[in-house]
């Protein structure tokens, strides 16, 4: 699929993001970074995403902020309205709740609300997700909230390649973009071309092709889905894995086409199941391809519970490879669910 763009060089997800930031800052002097501990801490951010940027671009453009999430997000928005292209960082997406008004009442609405002609070139990057024992207030996944807020674009890259290309697109976009990075992905490696490239929003990636079950996976779950696919392959079940990459805009066609082939849909994300984005994925697919469903769609998502600290409990709270394997088998075996007429 994306094979033609792949070359030899391999980077981590964090390095890919770092490269995107660096290149965009070199390209456009209006790009600035705002966030906590993005400059002097450890040479550039808790996960190294802003590594070396303070040294290269100076403290004017790489601003370590006080612990004032609402304030510096608002500052990013105002700066975007007044000619800069700020990239604001939340160290953990959980902290974005402190800036919810700035993000969802202000940034999301201002372009449309003022008639549609105002540019709001603001990127809000945040690290999210569970799996590292960071506990209930440092492990959430909030994409559903942002996707539910008209006026925001929402991006969730799952590979270094996508991370770089999508972040560049985000920075060049004239609309507010919420860019969600999963904490377990920073250390993952993958091919990333040296040359400048961008990835358009609204184009899903078919990460693996298969005939039996369509699996729409968000962010880190793409990797769980790949693991599950390997296991399932041994039993002759082919998973087709689709990574939407951006939730807003959302590429419903690619998913619908896949279901027309497989007749089965499995959706997975780490965020809690209830009112999560998986339900939206299913709903869109029903709207587009209802008659192709041979079995009720399934969700394999986070439990409706805060993310626990303990290893055992955390693992139980978030969707695992085995859960995906089990769900895929259930879809294929057509085990009756709920009120299925026998």
């Amino acid at each position: 699929m994306r094979g033609e763009q792949i070359e030899e060089r391999s980077l981590t997800y964090a390095q890919a993001l770092n490269e995107a930031l660096r290149e965009e800052m070199q390209r456009d002097a209006r790009v600035i970074l705002l966030g906590e501990d993005i400059g002097v801490w450890g040479g550039g951010g808790v996960f190294g995403v802003t590594k070396g940027l303070l040294e290269e671009f100076g403290a004017e453009r790489v601003r370590d902020t006080p612990i004032s999430e609402a304030g510096f997000t608002g500052a990013g928005l105002g700066a975007a309205l007044a000619g800069l292209r700020p990239v604001v960082e939340f160290m953990y997406v959980d902290f974005s709740m402190l800036a919810m008004d700035q993000i969802c009442n202000q940034a999301a609405k201002i372009r449309w609300m003022l008639g549609g002609d105002v540019s709001v070139p603001l990127v809000i990057r945040a690290q999210q997700g569970a799996g590292r024992g960071n506990g209930p207030q440092h492990s959430q996944s909030l994409e559903a909230w942002y996707a539910h807020t008209p006026g925001l674009k929402v991006v969730m890259p799952s590979t270094p390649y996508d991370a770089k290309g999508l972040l560049k697109t985000a920075i060049r976009d004239d609309n507010p973009v919420v860019f969600l990075e999963h904490k377990l992905l920073y250390g993952t490696r993958g091919p990333v071309p040296k040359e400048d490239y961008t990835i358009p929003f609204g184009q899903a990636a078919i990460v693996r092709q298969g005939r039996h079950v369509t699996c729409v996976a968000l962010s880190y779950q793409v990797h769980k889905a790949l693991e599950a696919a390997d296991v399932l392959a041994e039993e002759g079940i082919e998973l087709e894995i689709i990574d939407p990459r951006t939730l807003v805009p959302y590429d419903r066609e690619t998913v619908a086409r896949s279901i027309m082939k497989t007749g089965r849909l499995l959706v997975t994300h780490q965020a809690p199941e209830r009112a999560g984005f998986a339900a939206e994925v299913v709903m869109c697919a029903l709207e587009d391809a209802f008659d192709y469903f041979d079995a009720p769609p399934l969700r394999v998502c986070g439990k409706n519970v805060p993310i626990p600290y303990s290893l055992t409990l955390e693992a139980a709270a978030i969707p695992q490879t085995e859960d995906l394997v089990r769900a895929a088998k259930r879809l294929v075996e057509g085990v009756p669910l709920g009120g299925r007429r026998s």
């Binding site: 928005l77 700066a79 007044a82 000619g83």
Partner: protein, 349 residues
């Protein structure tokens, strides 16, 4: 509930009159006669706008909620008279006056209030969202405190882009209790951003009286600025010249790269929080006391005394204001409603 009746300053324009001993208004302010007269004219225009807006609201021709500004005109005009067209302001739910003072077109403002396609927001925002980026107006705001982040952001941009622009951030006494003010005051202070925090204390939030809602120390309002090491000025918000001089201090400091200033103005809204406010929370006598300080006729008298205008001029300008606003209403009324098909236009661009 015991209600405190807030006593206005004893004399209208007392501070300006004191400063005028042995000098003239032109010398005192460094403003041309035209700019000085413009202050009167703009205040009169705003007053007419608000009166008409209230009347239209009562007649059911404006929907939602409309917050008018009668009584506070000296603040909007005194403050914006320190600014160039390129400078920025952020405004509030009570924003008509701020944006008109900064140069917004009254026709498009009125059209917005009436929800028309020709309004500043194409009828999408209404009273609380008027903006005009071409004039540095970064928007009224429906969220109390919602513009404060934007204000330090535009100041940050001006600082980095070195374009010399200053941002004035308008907000009310009620907004003094929003946490984001604390955050952005600190940010603006540590980064020495070119902005002026302009508080309009009209003594009430909606019903919340400043005495019960706002904890202050021995330095009063100024203490809220001093906490961040920021200079603060207090002004008579019924005196357009006093506001002008106070805000100018802040603007000059900002342009000189010396960082932010707080300006606290004490003023009064003659009418309710919004049109239709049952006004259960304040004494009927109080607005009467403050009306004697009405910034418009009092400033008019001063202009006459200073030989800058005649009584007839004032009457003419009042008349002009009402003609302009009547035209604005006609413009709005003859403008089309936005069409349903445009609903999704420009959500992203």
């Amino acid at each position: 509930m015991t209600r405190v009746v807030r006593q206005p300053p004893a004399q209208p324009l007392a501070r300006t009159r004191a400063r005028l001993e042995g000098t003239t208004l032109v010398e005192l302010t460094g403003l041309s006669r035209d700019r000085l007269l413009g202050m009167y004219q703009r205040m009169a225009l705003i007053r007419q706008f608000e009166e008409q807006a209230a009347a239209l609201y009562r007649a059911g021709r404006i929907r939602g909620v409309t917050h008018t500004y009668q009584g506070q005109e000296a603040v909007a005009v005194g403050a914006t008279w320190c600014l160039t067209e390129e400078d920025y302001i952020t405004s509030t739910h009570r924003g008509h006056a701020h944006v008109l003072a900064k140069g917004a077109d009254e026709k498009r403002c009125m059209a917005e209030l009436m929800g028309r396609a020709t309004g500043y927001c194409r009828g999408r925002g209404g009273s609380m969202h008027i903006a005009d980026l071409s004039r540095g107006i970064l928007g009224a705001n429906g969220i109390v405190g919602g513009g404060m982040g934007i204000a330090v952001g535009s100041a940050l941009a001006s600082d980095l882009l070195k374009n010399g622009r200053v941002t004035v951030c308008f907000f009310g006494d009620g907004a003094l209790n929003q946490g984001i003010l604390h955050e952005v005051s600190n940010l603006a202070a540590i980064w020495r951003l070119p902005c002026v925090f302009l508080c309009e204390n009209n003594f009430y939030g909606m019903s919340g009286p400043v005495d019960n809602m706002l904890a202050l120390g021995p330095d009063g309002f100024k203490g809220r600025a001093q906490a961040f090491g920021l200079p603060a000025v207090e002004c008579d918000g019924m005196d357009v010249i006093d506001v002008f001089l106070g805000v100018r201090e802040g603007v000059e400091r900002a342009r000189a790269g010396e960082g932010p200033t707080y300006v606290f103005t004490h003023t009064y809204r003659f009418l309710g929080h919004h049109v239709g406010d049952p006004l259960t929370y304040r004494d009927k006598e109080e607005p009467e006391l403050w009306r004697r300080l009405d910034p418009i006729p009092n400033f008019g008298r001063l202009l006459v005394e200073q030989g800058l205008a005649s009584t007839q001029d004032l009457a003419d300008w009042d008349q002009e204001a009402s003609v302009r606003i009547a035209e604005a209403v006609r413009y709005a009324e003859s403008s089309p409603e936005p069409s349903r098909d445009t609903l999704l236009e420009g959500l992203f661009g």
